[in-house]
Amino acid sequence: MNTTPNQPIAAPAPESPAARLRPDLRAIAELVDPATRVLDIGCGDGALLEHLRDRKQVRGRGIELTEAGVLACVRRGLSVRQGNVQEGLADYPDLSFDSVILSQTLPFLDDPAMVLGEMLRVGRTAIVSFSNWGHWRCRLELLFTGRIPVAVDLPQQWYESPRRQPFSVTDFARFCRQVDIEIDRQVYMNRGVRIRTGRFKNLLSTTAVFTLHRRSR
């Protein structure tokens, strides 16, 4: 999670260029309906929430673990609370938000099933983005080198902190079916560029962005 360098305290620019957003955040921003209530878990420096506020009149809240991230968010004039995902989500009443966002964080969670359940308790919908270890490069890397692959969009070695758990688009879809979570809208990207995948979503995408809702509701 990057933070902006120190800068004078000033009102944010009226139009922060969307081009500066990370590609998966840009895709997420397009999936958020205007003038809704949004919670961004692990909101980092608040770039997405700021964009949603300025461009889509979204009423956003953030949860962020790092002091630098929280300070950057406050500098952008956002409402953010420091905490980890587990302790942060439990406090919110049911259906407090229209959307709850979790971007590029799923592989790092201790209990992803619990967090996804909580996201769909406090939010009507959830939006997640994650790196896909099912991409053909990962498959070939394991086959030909015998090394556990590094995700294309998450270049982090197995020994680096924080620990992460690799999984693929197919793993995620399977999990959702098992726990009655419906995947609604799907965006697939390859190195930051949106792609049409046809039947080969898992093979061709390096990052997936899904909106989710709970089927039983």
Partner: protein, 411 residues
């Protein structure tokens, strides 16, 4: 860090309840009530740029500038209040009010009881944080301010902030409770009680009737303050500041003179405190803190804030503060979140203990400045006439807090 000061300031006072008595939570009444206060900056045309600063246990209304032009009488939050500082007096009208029960110009146990013409002493009614804040509401009315932009304060000042937000939510847009708690814990009551027992045990205290005596309960008050000072530090800050160093000695003297630097520090601050504070006020103000519990009467902290949906919160705690530990602030943040209140929270990394709220100027300036910018934008607050924005200097990375201020901390 900017070194600009608001400069010379004057003490002001406001007298109310001259006809109708001021009713206290205890059921007792006071008449009349004087509140000492100071103001810095200019109120804008629509009276929307007012900020109320609440002080801690032994603080006063003198939060910024030089009182009466005396360069030795610097305000207790000078680092954060002034031109271009976190509470920018070029943009905001900053008010700091003393509390009822204090000895800094407001009605308290040292004031003359109009019924007897003598100091109240223990005849002064017990006041609560709620009473302190209702007195401040009278002051804000008197100043013609319908709604404050925010109320801010640390420690007991933070309790007043929470009281404002919970019980007068229509009177402020935002609340900034710092290094505080929504309910005084048994441990905090225990420390208060040790301080009070030290005062009771001083024969010169004389059940509070010492104002006409030559001998004041200075020894008791000094011990109370020494206990207080221990709780405002952290083991780490004591280690850094004093270690096990000896004061002016090469080796142990095997006697009971002051030997360690930490002993010397505590004795000095205890003694110095008796020159500026009243022992009975110490009893009353600590008692007010002990009664503070926003979970009452329902038992739920979230219930205290159901009416505060339109108040925006900035909650700040410090990692090494063991007097008002971070988990107190986290409980508050959880309750506010459950009550659907807009809350921003940061647990600032610091090794300065409870005193950090006066010392972590760098981070505080960033946080408060940005949060106030947001309030100005969202509440469309106009700057006072003649305001020209200035660029804040780039933060000094790794800047050390001003250590000399430790001794003067008003936690």
């Amino acid at each position: 860090m900017t070194t600009d000061s608001i400069g010379d300031v004057t003490a002001q006072s406001f007298i109310f309840a001259e006809d109708e008595p001021f009713c206290l939570e205890s059921g007792e009444t006071l008449r009349p009530v004087t509140l000492a206060y100071e103001t810095y900056g200019t109120l804008n045309a629509d009276r929307s740029n007012a900020i109320l600063i609440c002080h801690a246990l032994s603080g006063s209304a003198h939060a910024a500038g030089y009182l009466g032009g005396d360069p030795d009488k610097v305000g207790w939050w000078e680092d954060c209040i002034g031109p271009g500082k976190a509470f920018d007096t070029d943009r905001f009208f900053v008010i700091c009010s003393n509390v009822v029960g204090s000895c800094y110009g407001s009605t308290g146990p040292a004031s003359l009881d109009p019924a007897t013409g003598k100091p109240y002493g223990l005849n002064f009614p017990v006041v609560t944080v709620g009473d302190m804040v209702r007195a401040q509401v009278n002051l804000i009315d008197h100043l013609g301010i319908d709604k404050l932009l925010c109320v801010a304060g640390g420690s007991m000042g933070g309790m007043q902030v929470l009281e404002w937000a919970a019980h007068h939510p229509q009177r402020t847009h935002a609340a900034i409770p710092i290094a505080t708690t929504a309910h005084h814990s048994p441990m905090l009551i225990a420390f208060s009680e040790v301080g009070r027992q030290a005062i009771y045990a001083d024969p010169a205290w004389n059940h509070g009737a010492y104002y006409d005596k030559a001998q004041k309960p200075d020894a008791g008050l000094a011990v109370a303050r020494m206990v207080g000072h221990i709780t405002y530090l952290s083991e780490e800050s004591m280690q850094m500041k004093f270690g096990r160093r000896l004061q002016g000695l090469e080796k142990y003297g095997y006697e009971f003179e002051t030997e360690f630097e930490i002993e010397s520090y505590l004795r000095y601050n205890g003694r110095k405190f008796t020159e500026r504070f009243d022992a009975n006020s110490y009893l009353y103000v600590t008692k007010a803190m002990d009664y503070f519990d926003l979970t009452q009467p329902t038992g739920s902290l979230a219930a205290a804030f159901v009416g505060s949906l339109n108040v925006k919160f900035l909650v700040i705690s410090f990692t090494s503060d063991w007097l008002y530990p971070s988990y107190h602030s986290k409980q508050l943040v959880s309750a506010l979140t459950a009550a659907n209140v807009d809350v921003t929270y940061l647990d600032v990394r610091s090794s300065w203990g409870h005193d950090a709220f006066l010392l972590e100027v760098e981070t505080m300036t960033n946080l408060l400045g940005s949060f106030l910018d947001r309030l100005v934008r969202e509440e469309q607050v106009a700057a006072p006439a003649g305001y020209a924005p200035r660029a804040l200097p780039a933060p000094i990375i790794g800047a050390q807090p001003n250590r000399t201020r430790l001794a003067d901390s008003l936690a």
